[in-house]
């Protein structure tokens, strides 16, 4: 490199959150550099199940999720690409009366908080929405206006649009050190040093080290949620389905293949970027899928994979300013459910960085919750 590249904002990490924040910051007129050690969307952002889901979220996440959903419903306006987004119900299936009661309580809680997007469906309605569901399933909780998208195409579209707005991407560039020099941030990488007025940590499973260099404690754990895809099947499912009592994420893609995930984890190795499947665990996902959809007994798996993702101990992300430094920010640790949040969190981070404040309710996501007393 000749000279030191400079920008108003340096984003560490080219996943969906990094690309989204970069895009929104560029829209606000900031100059932005994104530094990514692999390629954009290489990890959790590119290989997740693609669920665009408000359903079943942690209560603290619901307002941001609802805001994000509004963006998803007109995603083409933002990134000039439909991201493969399909509107369809997200349904959490209850296999027992006790499970249905849990879901009813949740729906009531949400109504009290002022949110009406999650509704209880009875057995008859469940069967109407999911004709192939097993007879023992008694009902469910549904968010009818959710959907799914194609993860890699989405991240790629955000990157492309960000680039079109002038964001510079440095891929295959590993951040080694972030340090403060006067008012500016110096980011030392495998391709030299970058300078920025602001710093945003979107490094996913690798974000803990950046936080550490800022003097902050972020007990992030690398996890590798596993997924399976089957050969094409005749269309039988027009919703994204989850389990209530057993972890599951289940949907049939446009081309007929079925994508099954949910909770089961392989072995991640963030040092080498590799993850390994753990079929002794994945078998439970297979069992659950067949349990809820008996038609899956004859399905054939053609592929399985696991992406590396960062998980926080309380399963909600870190979103907000650094607690130790001015002009440093975090958005990481989405704990395997950050995909739907990407569009809104990027918008919130850009607002926060450009103006110094946001009205979004991000207090529960402060990094200070892990500060050692």
């Amino acid at each position: 490199m000749t000279g030191t590249p400079m920008a108003d904002l340096i984003v560490v990490g080219g996943g969906l959150h990094g690309c989204s924040a970069a895009l929104h910051a560029a829209k606000r007129g900031l100059s932005v550099i994104v530094i990514e050690k692999d390629n954009a969307g290489r990890h959790a952002s590119g290989v997740n199940a693609g669920g665009v889901r408000r359903l079943g979220r942690n209560y603290a996440e619901v307002p941001i999720s609802v805001r994000s959903m509004e963006i998803w419903h007109r995603i083409g306006d933002l990134v000039d690409d439909d991201c493969g987004f399909q509107r369809c119900p997200q349904i959490k299936v209850a296999e027992t009366e006790a499970e249905l009661e849990t879901l009813e309580k949740r729906a009531a809680d949400l109504r009290e908080l002022g949110f009406t997007h999650e509704v209880i469906v009875d057995q008859q309605e469940l069967r109407r929405l999911l004709p192939a569901v097993a007879p023992h399933c008694v009902g469910g909780l549904a968010s009818l206006d959710d959907g799914f998208a194609i993860p890699y195409n989405t991240t790629f579209a955000f990157q492309r649009k960000a680039r079109a707005l002038g964001v510079q991407f440095f891929e295959k560039t590993r951040v080694e050190k972030v340090r403060r020099d006067g008012k500016d941030w110096h980011v030392d990488t495998s391709a030299g040093t970058f300078k920025g007025r602001n710093l945003l940590n979107c490094a996913g499973a690798w974000a803990g080290e950046i936080a550490r260099q800022l003097g902050e404690h972020a007990p992030i754990e690398a996890i590798a949620p596993m997924m399976i895809v089957t050969a094409r099947m005749k269309r039988f499912c027009d919703a994204v389905v989850g389990g209530c009592g057993r972890p599951l994420s289940f949907k049939q893609a446009e081309n007929g293949t079925v994508i099954i995930g949910g909770g089961r984890r392989g072995y991640p190795d963030p040092k080498t970027n590799k993850s390994e499947m753990r079929f002794s665990q994945l078998r439970y996902s297979a069992e659950t899928a067949i349990g809820i959809f008996p038609i899956m007994k004859s399905a054939t798996i053609v592929r399985s994979w696991a992406g590396i993702e960062g998980r926080m101990p309380d399963d909600i992300p870190v979103i907000g300013p650094s607690s130790t430094h001015e002009n440093a920010f975090h958005a990481f640790g989405f704990s395997a459910h950050g995909f739907q949040l990407g569009p809104a969190v990027g918008e919130i981070m850009a607002e926060l960085i450009a103006t110094g404040h946001t009205n979004a309710p991000i207090a529960p996501f402060s990094i200070t919750r892990f500060a050692k007393s």
Binding site: N39, G41, V47, N48, G51, L55, G56, N58, Q90, T102, P151, Y152, N153, F156, Q159, R160, R163, E171, P225, I228, V229, T230, A231, V240, G242, G243, G245, R246, P247, L248, S249, N255, I260, G261, G262, G263, R264, K274, E276, M277, F279, S280, Q281, L282, R283, A286, I290, M296, K297, S298, A299, T300, I301, V302, R303, S304, W305, A336, H337, F339
Partner: protein, 474 residues
Amino acid sequence: MSATTKNRYDVAIIGAGPAGMAAAVEVTRAGLSAIVLDEQPAPGGQIYRGIETSDEKRTKVLGPDYAAGRDIAKAFRACSAEYLPGATVWNIDSALGIDVSLGQGSKHIQAGAIVVATGAIERPTPMPGWTLPGVTTAGALQILLKANGVVSDDVVFVGSGPLLSLIAAQMLKAGVKPRAIVETVPQSRYVAALKHLPAALGAASYLVKGLAMMLSLRRAGVPIYRDATGIRIEGNGKAEAVTFTSGGKSHRLETTSVALHQGIVPNQQVTRLLRCDHEWNKSQHCFVPKVDEYFETTMADVYVAGDGAGIGGAVAARLRGRLAGLRIAEKAGRGNAQERRSVTDALMREAKIRPLLETLYAPSPEILAPADETLVCRCEEVTAGDIRKAVDLGAPGPNQVKSFLRSGMGPCQGRMCGLAVSEIIASRRGEPISEIGYYRIRPPLKPLLLSELAALESEEAVPADLADESAAVH
């Protein structure tokens, strides 16, 4: 040999072709326990397929090189290795645990060392019309000949490589005359290959055999069209004709059966799954796993014998299998350095013919750069143009193209399109293919029933944190 009874073996060998069989004989001779897992119902691999049941007539048609497999199979049957036919390996983990499907259920086997002897596959040959019914690979045609003695009577062979004339000559012996051979080798290659001729004389028997085959084809009057370009397979719903240009003239051969071939390349699914390092072999124009002189990969205790380590042919495969076996024995303290040296010497003699063959029969430029509308990934119906478009949008390599277009995500896991996709990306980006790389390969290696996975024997219980994770919808 006995049916499988154990879950732990000193050596697991995947594939019962010449390399796998030879490795099994060698390691059991040294007193190690071994299991051989093979998808086929009987030993032999593709090259010696059906060798134990082939009658005199069929063996004569297939020739003495094929008949040589008999002794190898006999020695394999006599050794103490456990042999599991009809077994599909669908996963191998980094601790050398192997998941194998036996049709009804899956079995988990723990190995101390693995010999990958999964051989070669035919190079993908994307060209107009290659997906029409009636079009097969030349190898598939030969399998029919070996397994069932079946031959088709109006075949037009299209492509490049010694296998084309071999199969055509075998068909003649079986009493069926192929319609024609449409060879894509440009004239200039003969000139380029000439400089390798002196070295090839060190393996003169191959040259003699090659000449004899050509002679028999000429005597029988099988038309051979040379330096063919602009090849298209035409037809409405099925193959009806092959059109091409040769000798400055356009030709149209009507046929319902077309056999394509552009040489063979290592079957790298297992070594890719295990994340062994691979390198681009310029001469063979394909990726090969990096191996040391004993065919051990960059992953300790994982060996690749046979054509999987780079194309060397059946004789070399057998020698490589022996060498890998001898090395494994040596590591276990049962070495025989003298024998190892003699096998290495024989391998070097065997390799002398390769530069000539590889120069002469390099893949045709047409299949390396198919036209935009040509299908490349057959499973997901992705064209060369789709791939170029994804590259133009910024996809830097095969894995991003895969994520974008689903190419290589179908049931064949990229076997049929992998090399072609890497080639197209490399040329579109103007970067060397060694930099572009290849698909990451994920398990299962072969399609697996979901119910079979659900029934997988597991010693691991459901972890408590996951069992409680009722809200897990990703």
